[in-house]
């Protein structure tokens, strides 16, 4: 079985400060990992993914995420937050060795960037 946890319902950060949105996962094999962002009244938009290779993955809008196998984590980061980054962020995982091709999504973390 595959699962993903986003331990924080909400993250608050001041504009210009670094931000981190946490994600941990559980799979029986090796993971494929994804981050998506959802703006109000919109569908999910892809930010970045980890399939294999470098543990540090760079994505859209200056976001990056680091795959840490020993900690089973895939935290989303950005060096300097913008007010426009305020949105709902979803982590997703798929077990590379699993029978399903469908990723499991986390509950989402609301990021609020204050001016």
């Amino acid at each position: 079985a595959q699962s993903v946890a986003q331990p924080e319902d909400q993250v608050n950060v001041a504009e210009g400060n670094p931000l981190t949105v946490k994600c941990t996962y559980s799979v029986s094999g090796n993971p494929y990992l994804f981050w998506y962002v959802q703006y109000p009244n919109r569908g999910l938009q892809f930010l970045l993914k980890y399939i294999t290779g470098d543990n540090l993955v760079k994505g859209s809008y200056g976001f990056e995420a680091e795959f840490n196998k020993s900690q089973t984590s895939f935290h989303l980061k950005k060096p300097s937050a913008l007010v426009s980054d305020s949105a709902l962020y979803f982590c997703a995982v798929r077990d590379r060795g699993g029978g399903s091709y469908i990723p499991t999504f986390g509950r989402g973390t609301s990021l609020i960037v204050h001016p």
């Binding site: 998506y36 569908g43 979803f90 999504f105």
Partner: protein
């Protein structure tokens, strides 16, 4: 950039009625999906569709639900005899051909379904 489009944006229906939610996936995509998101909760997978048949479905996708690709562009989700707990945002998504299972999903903006 091509987009997944969904209609209507908001559907209000009486309990017990049937609804059809419509999606136009990106034209060269071959894998299609429906998800739902109950207000304030996580995104839940309903069904995936490839090569004109269901490839995977979740426990949520029971006999009340069905999907269809009636022509070369539309992908529909039908909910028969709707219940109050069917009220949610329903998202359609698609991924391209080839290594589609590794590709990120492209989501539409959703249909908000309200059951009265």
């Amino acid at each position: 950039e091509p987009e997944v489009t969904q209609t209507p944006s908001h559907q209000v229906t009486q309990m017990g009625q049937e609804v059809i939610l419509r999606c136009v996936p990106i034209s060269n995509h071959l894998y299609f999906y429906w998800y739902r998101q109950i207000l304030g909760q996580k995104v839940e997978f309903l069904v995936s569709f490839y090569n004109n048949e269901i490839s995977e479905k979740s426990e949520i996708f029971d006999d009340q639900f069905s999907v269809e690709r009636p022509d070369g562009s539309n992908f529909t989700l039908k909910i028969r005899s709707t219940k109050l707990e069917d009220s949610a945002m329903y998202f359609c998504a698609s991924t391209p051909a080839g290594t589609g299972v590794l590709q990120p999903q492209h989501f539409g903006d959703g249909t908000r379904l309200s059951i009265l």
